[in-house]
Subunit: 246 residues, 2 copies
Amino acid sequence: MTYCVAALTQQGMVFASDSRSNAGVDQVGVFSKMTLFEIPGERVIVLLCSGNLASTQSVVSLLKLHMKDSFGAINSEGMLGLKSLYDVATLVGQTMREVMSRDGPSLVQQNVDPNCSFILGGQIQGKSQRLFLIYPQGNFIECSQETNFFQIGETKYGKPMIDRVVRYNTSLRDVAKCLLVSFNSTMRSNLSVGLPIDLLAYENDTFQVRLRRRFTEEDPYFSEISQFWSAALRRVFSEAPDVPWL
Amino acid sequence: MTYCVAALTQQGMVFASDSRSNAGVDQVGVFSKMTLFEIPGERVIVLLCSGNLASTQSVVSLLKLHMKDSFGAINSEGMLGLKSLYDVATLVGQTMREVMSRDGPSLVQQNVDPNCSFILGGQIQGKSQRLFLIYPQGNFIECSQETNFFQIGETKYGKPMIDRVVRYNTSLRDVAKCLLVSFNSTMRSNLSVGLPIDLLAYENDTFQVRLRRRFTEEDPYFSEISQFWSAALRRVFSEAPDVPWL
């Protein structure tokens, strides 16, 4: 399983993804699900993925392969050349369909789900920051100020906290903290979502990534916030009013 | 959708269920998903249901129909006559299979899911209290002191809080409060889970139900705990340590 989430706010965007990949319980690996495409000062594009690992890796490999032409120059039709995030989302969707039409039938024949989905966000010089959710079929929807976050993978355990905290005017700092709390709740309830967590915050109109961090099992901050959150929840729970029985 | 949950503790058992039933978004109704079978002083049996409403209603109707014989005497093979909770769970499973074999094929033909599942808990004089989860296939598992709660329906949004609070030695009072908080989180994230909530607490070895309450939209306690919980979560969130960016 996987858990990825990204939020769009006035100050910028925050992306977070876990790194556990499993095929059954006895084949567990660590694979980052966050890919950054960046030309500092010109564009930042972040891709988060969920679903069949062979499919998502193939999509990302093909996107990287077609980024530059055979002379090393930026391909105007690739991730680093396209003029708008909308076109980039279309490219990702097309690449997904390409991989699906190549690998899908063999997998379906063996009762393996070939599907994957992506969250795509970023900003290109001269344009606004944008955040998209790309469905397994390759079509996509875009975030708005009212619905300003997307999740893929094991989304439910960690959603209530984001629903309560993350708004369009929430600070990047608070959004980052909230997404980590959301990961903490998810990892407690689903063993197939696991550390390390990749966290990236993009500050609007900077066209470069200055805030990025990986939280491993030894990370003192992630331990601290996990313990704080558990203790705080138990404390406020004990302060909550008791049920008045009739 | 539906959300039902029940927990087994040293002091007794707590059961909670929502009351929203929907077939699409434009056909929404209120149906209680909690059924109590009781002979005060002798037995208490509580049934919570999830899934296809026609299926669950048929199962409950058949269980009630076969409770007494044609002369009004308790049928020794029915809900009020069987000597152990294990036999009651077997009866519910058999009745589910009966309904499935009658209605299932017609529903499957129309691509309608006929499945349902039940949580069954209670106590019969001379025996211990027991709590079961009955799968759509009619087989079942039983709670233990280590895994002391079961959920059916829309289970994920409300699970993290129960995971943190509800243990075998947690007081009935705290379990009841925690289940309501769990409902609050679920209802915020899934519109198809809705009030009223039926809440019932059974005190171990009393063989009767003294604590039962329905929470409607106008219920001042449910509003109070919802508001308290939202405010408290935001407050402890603001007190949580910020992410240290490298």
